[in-house]
């Protein structure tokens, strides 16, 4: 049995070590870990975003944005207002209305695309369910506003960001997405080409068969021809 207090002295040695090492620890990673934002000195380089701006790290997600290709936001908007994300959104923070032209014909883009950031919980479900790669997660976090009700309701034009912006904030993820889209597009085109070729072939074959039939069966009163007419 030892004197009361030895365990306490042991603990005090630990705290004293931390106190002293906080001044002398060279890499300042173990004994003084406070950092203000990820881009402050001392943040590991691999998590830093390409451009500081107000992005936390290259991996963080915050709130959704809409992507567009090219320079013109509405010209290159990827969203076709299919409303899958609106249906799937767990906290129901997305509101979409389809856009129609003067004739009342549905043109594939949203007239209204609102996200209420005060409701959104950054879960990324909308990104996963979107079949058009139109919605991705932003990492902008400085969103405070003086207006409690309208200020956090983001509209279509505020949400629209270019694909280049996406590449800047999430380089790795954006590259992977572009690769996959290109691959899908290529596959689709190949499929289309194959389908076209097959169609063409079928048409040719049909034509050839018809010619052959014509040759073998000279009677003009074919019932199929009559039916077609």
């Amino acid at each position: 049995m030892r004197l009361l207090g030895f365990g306490i002295l042991k603990g005090m040695a630990v705290t004293l070590e931390n106190f002293v090492r906080s001044y002398f620890d060279r890499d300042r990673r173990h004994h003084l870990f406070t950092k203000e934002y990820a881009w402050e000195p001392g943040a590991p380089a691999e998590v830093l975003p390409a451009r500081a701006d107000t992005t936390v790290t290259a991996h963080s997600r915050n709130f959704p944005i809409l992507l567009h290709d090219g320079a013109d936001p509405m010209g290159g908007i990827r969203c076709v207002a299919c409303q899958i994300c609106e249906r799937e959104c767990p906290p129901q923070c997305i509101y979409i209305e389809k856009d129609y032209d003067e004739q009342g014909k549905y043109i594939k883009r949203p007239a209204i695309f609102d996200i209420d950031l005060s409701v959104c919980m950054s879960c990324q479900i909308c990104v996963e369910v979107c079949p058009f790669d139109a919605i991705v997660m932003d990492s902008q976090f400085e969103l405070s506003t003086a207006n409690r009700f309208g200020g956090l309701l983001q509209h279509r034009d505020q949400l629209l960001k270019s694909n280049e912006y996406y590449h800047r904030i999430h380089p790795e993820e954006a590259r992977a997405r572009d690769d996959r889209m290109a691959q899908e597009k290529a596959e689709k085109e190949a499929k289309q080409a194959a389908a076209d070729a097959a169609k063409k072939k079928a048409a040719e074959a049909k034509a050839a068969a018809e010619i052959a039939a014509e040759k073998s069966k000279p009677e003009p009163s074919a019932p199929t021809a009559g039916g077609a007419a």
């Binding site: 030895f6 991996h59 919980m121």
Partner: protein, 384 residues
């Protein structure tokens, strides 16, 4: 009041001073009290400083989680499970994914299985480090152990952020695998964190495990016997601190836990000190699992052949995992549509909280705070 609490209250006799009018002091601790770990209230009746009766009151954080889940698709509930026990979103995800995968069997790829184990064990480290930190805060240490714990937790949360995009609300698991693979270099970073972790545990043990004040404050305080714990349905470290060997990782061997060698530490006294130490010892075992998992993880896809629309046939199932706080289970009834007919959570913190009165009666108000800390509750999970 249960039988044990009744006997404790009976054995405790109120000091009556005939000349003075003494009475019991009723104190409503919470919902805004520094040590109730959220919005939790304890209605305590005190004689001097001794707790004579205690009534836990909760529901301040009720969010209608279960009913909401019945109105949305299976996948859409996944991010809500993050918010149950917000320290352990990864294990919550896993429990839900496990239940859903029993409804509609989907083969989970090897790499995803390994990553699930890695994430779950990192989560255990996060939970237990924060718990021991908060526990010491309840004991009155001015944040030092808590901040040492947070220093380590921060590194693990960084890993979570790099893998899933969020530090706490990870939403990383999917039916049949994981949402995405970890970024390049992640495994090496995780390895560095795991390798540095024992240093923290050594420091922590040196700081606290022999400290006379910690010993005096926690030993023989809030004793929970094994039989009582089993009777009340207690699970997790709290049950094992009472000496009952029951760890779902060993019992169910869900995922690929049968591939890892680890031990289950058991307490003997079932008091606050045991509950505190069991968590410290469990972290060492988790490190063993992590070590093996990071060594053996294969390459490959992380997502199985999941259907685009998750629509299980009419059936029911119960999926459970060993969350850091105990047995976390999801009970699902499918009716053949894309939404669950019934969705029920078995929250470990809520059920572990049921013995709070039995543990506290007869101790002082300062002990009640410590006992509550040692139970390890998160109000997001208690109230749902």
């Amino acid at each position: 009041m249960s039988a044990a609490a009744a006997t404790a209250a009976a054995s405790y006799s109120l000091v009556r001073q005939p000349a003075m009018e003494t009475g019991l002091l009723e104190v409503s601790m919470g919902p805004h009290h520094p040590s109730t770990h959220g919005v939790f209230r304890m209605d305590v009746r005190l004689d001097g400083e001794t707790v004579v009766a205690l009534k836990p009151v909760f529901g301040y954080l009720h969010r209608n989680h279960e009913k909401l889940a019945e109105g949305m698709s299976y996948l859409a509930s996944m991010p809500f499970t993050d918010r149950l026990d917000y320290f352990n979103s990864m294990t919550n995800n896993w429990a839900y994914a496990l239940a859903a995968e029993q409804l509609l069997p989907i083969e989970v790829p090897e790499r995803a299985q390994y990553l699930r184990v890695i994430m779950a064990e990192l989560t255990r480290l996060v939970n237990h480090t924060s718990l021991v930190g908060f526990f010491l805060n309840d004991l009155g240490a001015l944040g030092t152990p808590l901040l040492y714990a947070f220093r380590e937790r921060e590194r693990i949360l960084d890993l979570f952020e790099q893998a899933s995009g969020a530090r706490m609300m990870c939403n990383y698991f999917r039916f049949g695998g994981l949402r995405c693979d970890v970024p390049e270099g992640w495994l090496a970073r995780a390895r560095a964190v795991v390798d540095a972790f024992p240093r923290f545990l050594d420091e922590f043990e040196k700081l606290l495990c022999e400290n006379e004040i910690v010993l005096a404050r926690t030993q023989r305080v809030g004793v929970l016997s094994g039989a009582q714990a089993v009777n009340a349905g207690i699970t997790g470290p709290m049950l094992r601190a009472s000496g009952v060997n029951y760890d779902l990782r060993k019992v169910d061997r869900y995922g690929i836990y049968e591939r890892f060698a680890f031990r289950v530490p058991l307490g003997s006294a079932g008091d606050c000190y045991d509950r505190f130490m069991i968590r410290l010892l469990e972290m060492r075992e988790s490190l063993k699992i992590l070590d093996a998992a990071l060594r053996d993880i294969p390459t490959g896809p992380v997502m199985g052949n999941a259907p685009r629309v998750f629509k299980p046939a009419a059936s029911e199932t119960y999926g459970r995992v060993e969350s850091p706080k105990g047995e976390l289970g999801f009970y699902l009834i499918a009716d053949g549509t894309t939404k669950p007919y019934r969705y029920r959570v078995r929250p470990p913190s809520f059920i572990n909280l049921t013995v709070l009165e039995d543990l506290c009666v007869g101790h002082t108000i300062a002990d009640a705070v410590v006992i509550l800390g040692s139970v390890d509750i998160v109000l997001g999970e208690v109230d749902r």
